[in-house]
């Protein structure tokens, strides 16, 4: 039974509530949306993960400070896909992270993952959730290949974008470099059993065969094992001119150390998994010297345009960035630009709208204009090659100075 006094109270409460809601909408001019990040912050790749996170943080901080999107702030929500038991990225953890991202309605786009194995686990979940992600470093081509669309984007539209090119270019272009520049005639190929490692080693091997390089064998390393002397002794007995390793640091570090003892004179190279400070600090010199490594992006460190970025980065984080810090920064710029365009068009900032905006993005970034093809791959396909050579005046872990830039690997 509603008494008169009760009714008066009710009306008063409703009025207060309406006023409160009204003030909320008035302040909604400063809406906050979240940008997810998935990186391998625990495990063997933690150092590069931190640089990726720093790159994203920097781009968001700059945008928020400059009010780049009027009335909208972007907030970073980081997720770690590394686990102690795996010792590196763990696809199961990456899948869990993808589910968490999808279930947080405020996340409108994401950056990551670093690793292709994580990407393969995340892509189908993100596709179902309609959440676009831009990877700064995962290069396995299957994830964006339309042949595997049913597996990696079951919901249809591409949601996996990249600010690096793929191993469909990184592996083959390195094979071209081995054949054309280094004049290699025979090679042994190893991988680390991961999605990235197997994929890049496969594409390297296929192109090397096409270029007339003799493949003397192919084997797979267990990244948790410590001893690779058996396989290295076998390689020594086969006497190849070169060794190509597809994989990341966990096996790569041990391989480089033992290869220096057993096959010191063989030309040794790998993909972007062998590009990073672990090669310099954990392997050390002289064992690390001479290794070739590639990255699936143009070399920007030392570029004048990148210099401002590098200076600001060092000022903020007191450590040197690397090329994948830049691709992470660029990926974030693409997201900021896309959110901005959606907001400017007057449409609500939804995942779907942001995804569509990313698809049609033409953003001027540090690496140049970034745009994506119909599958989400970067339009630019540059692969850069480096060789480890000690710079006596540089800090031991300084990637930009102890990896000497050789050039762009020849395109097929």
């Amino acid at each position: 039974m509603l008494t008169r006094r009760g009714a008066a109270q009710l009306i008063a409460t409703a009025a207060v509530a309406a006023a409160w809601v009204g003030s909320k909408t008035a302040r909604a001019a400063d809406a906050t949306y979240k940008v997810g990040l998935d990186a391998s912050l625990t495990g063997a790749d933690a150092e590069s993960a931190i640089r990726v996170r720093n790159g994203v943080t920097m781009a968001l901080d700059e945008a928020n400070a400059a009010n780049a999107i009027p009335g909208i702030k972007l907030e970073l929500v980081p997720f770690d896909d590394g686990t102690a038991t795996a010792g590196q990225y763990d696809p199961a953890q990456a899948a869990t992270n993808a589910r968490k991202m999808v279930s947080d309605k405020d996340i409108v786009a994401a950056v990551g993952p670093q690793m292709s194995g994580a990407g393969k686990a995340m892509a189908p979940i993100l596709s179902e959730g309609g959440l676009a992600i831009i990877t700064p470093s995962s290069t396995n081509p299957d994830i964006t290949n339309p042949k595997f669309a049913e597996q990696f984007r079951p919901a249809g539209k591409p949601i996996y974008f990249r600010t690096v090119t793929t191993d469909a270019y990184q592996g083959p272009n390195m094979a071209n470099f081995f054949a054309d520049t280094l004049k290699v005639k025979s090679v042994y190929v190893l991988d680390d059993s991961g999605a990235y490692g197997v994929g890049i080693a496969d594409t390297f091997q296929a192109q090397a065969e096409k270029k007339g390089i003799k493949i003397l064998g192919r084997d797979r390393l267990d990244p948790k094992a410590s001893d690779y002397s058996a396989i290295l002794t076998k390689i020594k007995s086969l006497g190849p001119q070169a060794l190509y390793y597809g994989g990341v640091g966990q096996a790569g570090v041990k391989l480089a150390k033992q290869a220096y003892d057993i096959i010191p004179d063989v030309i040794k190279g790998g993909g972007d998994g062998m590009y990073g400070p672990a090669m310099l600090t954990a392997v050390g010199f002289p064992a690390a010297a001479g290794w070739y490594a590639s990255i699936a992006a143009p070399h920007l460190m030392g570029d004048t345009k990148a210099q401002t970025f590098v200076d600001n980065y060092v000022k903020k984080f007191n450590a040197p960035p690397d090329d994948y810090t830049i691709t992470a920064y660029d990926a974030t710029l693409v997201i900021i630009d896309s959110v901005k365009r959606v907001a400017a068009s007057g449409k609500p900032v939804t995942r779907e709208a942001v995804r569509d905006a990313i698809q049609t993005a033409k953003v001027d970034t540090i690496q140049g204009p970034v745009s994506f093809d119909a599958n989400g791959d970067l339009a630019d396909r540059t692969v850069s090659v480096f060789q480890i050579k000690k710079d006596p005046s540089a800090r031991e872990d300084d990637v930009s100075r102890n990896y000497q830039y050789i050039g762009v690997a020849p395109q097929s």
Binding site: G43, T233, A278
Partner: protein
């Protein structure tokens, strides 16, 4: 390389691996022989040992492979490193027994074994948190001296590993066979009740077993670092699992069995990598284990309970 050189080289590789597995396997076997407990914390006592060894070597000012010592300084540094590493690892083993296993001594069922798995993860995560996840460049002061046997190469480090591992194992064998406490250990292994009635201090025996096993694991950790020039928080798992397999293969609870089992697993790993493929190493190792256990359920040298010395 001729085929003979290749076989010789892979034998050298296999024996080095085997020596390390044997040192680790002894720890499993010592504890199992007395408590019938599979001590999974042993995996990471080995790993902690390699970090203790690294810290000790670094305390001498050694960094990476930059500082090379010879002669007496080298011998001195290595001796101190072995002494410190083995003492600290042994003490860690005793601590684990005292804190987490003794309270469960009379609990039936898998509680104690599960506890050792838990302790293993605690050690693993402590090192991960304090030392970080990246692989560490292990200091190695040994000069890169190499002997060429035909096409095969024998590294000075390898010779040292063999000598140290043999000395440690011979020492352990003598200790168990000849010393008073060693005899008490064998008596406890055979029949703990009877041993207790005859006046054997079972607690002391158990502590000794943990100390010796863990000290050997620590020595294994140091040898591992010197051999591979690296260490990381994750090295315990693969090495521990293979060493455990070696202990079972040789007959768990049996000291010579652990040594032989270690060498066999090391040789399988080397030869498998050469003639089949490295990717198949675990499949080969565990298939052989299954085969051996089907025909000799107690392992190569083991005898089935109740008499399991």
């Amino acid at each position: 390389m001729t085929n003979f050189d290749l076989l010789l080289q892979q034998t050298i590789n296999g024996l080095s691996l085997g020596a390390m597995y044997a040192l680790l396997a002894l720890g499993f076997t010592l504890v199992y022989g007395i408590l019938e407990l599979i001590n999974f914390s042993h995996f990471n006592v080995f790993m902690v040992g390699s970090f203790v060894a690294m810290a000790t070597l670094q305390a001498f000012g050694l960094n990476g492979q930059q500082v090379i010592l010879t002669g007496l300084p080298l011998a001195g540094v290595l001796l101190v490193a072995f002494a410190v590493t083995m003492t600290v690892s042994g003490a860690l083993g005793v601590l684990i027994e005292r804190l987490s296993l003794r309270p469960l001594r009379n609990v039936k069922g898998p509680a104690a074994m599960i506890t050792t798995i838990g302790v293993s993860y605690i050690l693993f995560n402590i090192v991960l948190l304090y030392e970080g996840a990246d692989a560490k460049n292990f200091p190695n002061p040994m000069p890169a001296v190499r002997f060429h046997l035909g096409g095969a190469v024998l590294d000075l480090r390898v010779v040292l590993i063999w000598i140290v591992a043999s000395l440690l194992m011979a020492g352990l064998w003598l200790f168990v066979q000849k010393s008073r406490i060693g005899k008490a250990m064998r008596a406890t292994a055979q029949d703990p009740e009877a041993a207790r009635m005859m006046g054997v201090e079972v607690d002391r025996v158990i502590i000794t077993a943990f100390f010796l096993g863990s000290a050997l694991a620590g020595a294994g950790g140091l040898i591992f670092g010197l051999y591979y020039n690296f260490t990381s928080f994750i090295i315990g798992f693969t090495a521990g699992l293979r060493a455990f397999t070696a202990a079972v293969l040789g007959g768990i609870g049996n000291v010579p069995g652990a040594m032989v089992g270690g060498l066999i697993i090391g040789m399988i790993e080397a030869m498998g990598g050469q003639f089949i493929a490295t990717a198949w190493t675990d499949v080969i190792i565990f298939s052989i284990l299954v085969l051996v256990l089907v025909f000799k359920p107690a392992g190569l040298f083991g005898r089935l309970a109740p008499n399991k010395s």
